[in-house]
């Protein structure tokens, strides 16, 4: 299991290692922790909880809340599994935007005019995104949320890489 599924699984496990939580609390805390960059479906949270329980990484605390909701906590095995995951460097394949690359590949077969237009439009989108991310980073810093600020900084650095990539495409394919 790769990527998103794993980080949701360990994100949930990490929250339950802090204190017992109900499914809905897990959902809101998870979204809060990620600064609104990940909206998670409550159904996916319950699915993850069930799998974690099946694998012996979390357990029901036994007592049901006032609305009959079940709270979960991490087991010893869960905490050691979490620690192992936290120490693992991320070695997944680089994620690239498939839409843009497929357009690029197709436009590369057409006359240059189309390619230049795509590149210019894409560039403007990235420049505006850079501004939006910088604004969000500033807001997060003003709110004292350093980790979320760093997330937006990461977004800016990735956007910078995309812009550099566009320049490379222009240099190699798109000189008007």
């Amino acid at each position: 299991m790769y990527g998103q599924g794993m980080s949701l699984r360990f994100g949930v496990l990490g929250l339950l290692a802090e204190e017992p939580l109900h499914g809905y609390e897990v959902k809101t805390r998870f979204e809060e922790m990620l600064g609104g960059t990940w909206k998670v479906n409550i159904g996916s949270v319950y699915q993850v909880l069930q799998r974690l329980e099946r694998d012996g990484l979390v357990e029901a605390t036994g007592d049901r809340g006032d609305r009959g909701r079940q709270a979960y906590r991490a087991t010893i095995a869960g905490i050691s599994g979490l620690n192992e995951w936290l120490e693992d460097p991320d070695s997944q394949p680089q994620l690239l935007r498939e839409d843009f690359y497929v357009r690029l590949l197709l436009l590369g077969r057409h006359p240059n005019g189309h390619l230049a237009r795509l590149l210019d439009r894409q560039r403007r989108v990235y420049l505006q995104r850079m501004r939006d991310l910088a604004d969000q980073e500033k807001i997060a810093r003003e709110d004292g949320r350093l980790q979320v600020a760093l997330l937006f900084k990461g977004g800016q650095l990735h956007t910078e890489a995309e812009l550099k990539f566009l320049d490379a495409v222009v240099d190699e394919m798109g000189k008007e």
Binding site: G35, N41, D120, Q128, M130, R131, L133, Q136, E160
Partner: protein, 246 residues
């Protein structure tokens, strides 16, 4: 419309050795109060453009008028006066004088422009206070951090109340946090009405802080875009770590 910077069909050709067209028919107008970033890779012409607007070099052809002064027709002494009184400079490597105190560094351009020493001292002290540097008046530049040095350089750039502040890679020698603080300061100055022209290769600086981003490529204006600041965007519309596809 009266532009603060009015560049019309400007070219700059260097002829020493191989003939190089550094700027090729550039037309660009900038209004007072704008925060414009000129962005480009090395060799795009951005440094040449900066030098022309700064009055440090002359165009081969075309016309450049800044703050009502035609730089393409000004003589050397008029250009020197222009550089002293109409433009404030912020450089990548600060260019502070190491044998002068912080306060003295900030006073230098004022005294060169003929401001009385007492007045220059008072204004320098006031600026340093505004920039959060009141406690280092008597320090020597060599004893300051990079971020502090750049703030001193910004105070120096402002002392003659220039119509235009030119910032050339102002964060290039700073760590990421100090760089952000220096940029925050420039943004704040602009919010109070100061016209700023930032020249950088760094898209994070240009688009993250400038209101308008002009991209030079091969000596020409390739793009000129106004960015929307403070759009009320949902974080998930900007960065998505995961979740259901929109």
């Amino acid at each position: 419309m009266g532009w603060l910077i009015d560049i019309t069909e400007v070219s700059k050709v260097f002829t020493g050795g191989a003939r190089t067209v550094a700027l090729d028919d550039v037309t660009l107008q900038i209004a007072a109060g704008e925060f414009t970033a000129v962005m480009g890779a090395s060799g795009s012409g951005k440094s040449t453009l900066l030098n022309l607007v700064a009055g440090l070099d002359r165009a081969t052809s075309g016309r450049i008028v800044v703050d009502g002064i035609d730089l393409t027709r000004a003589n050397e002494s008029q250009l020197a006066r222009y550089r002293r009184s109409h433009v404030g400079f912020v450089f990548q490597f600060f260019n502070l004088l190491s044998n002068l105190t912080v306060l003295e560094n900030v006073m230098v351009p004022a005294e060169l422009a003929g401001m009385r020493s007492g007045e220059a001292r008072a204004r320098a002290a006031e600026l340093l206070k505004e920039l959060g540097m009141a406690d280092v008046h008597r320090s020597y530049a060599a004893n300051l951090s990079g971020g502090q040095r750049q703030r001193v350089a910004i105070a120096r750039a402002l002392i003659n109340r220039p119509a235009l502040v030119l910032a050339d890679e102002p964060t290039g020698a700073l760590d990421s946090r100090s760089g952000d603080q220096v940029m925050g300061l420039l943004v704040e100055l602009n919010r109070r009405g100061q016209t700023i022209l930032l020249v950088t290769h760094d898209a994070k600086l240009a688009a993250g802080h400038g209101r308008r981003v002009v991209t030079l490529r091969d000596g020409r204006v390739h793009d000129d875009v106004r960015l929307q600041p403070q759009r009320a965007a949902e974080p998930a519309e900007l960065v998505r770590l995961g979740g259901d596809e929109a």
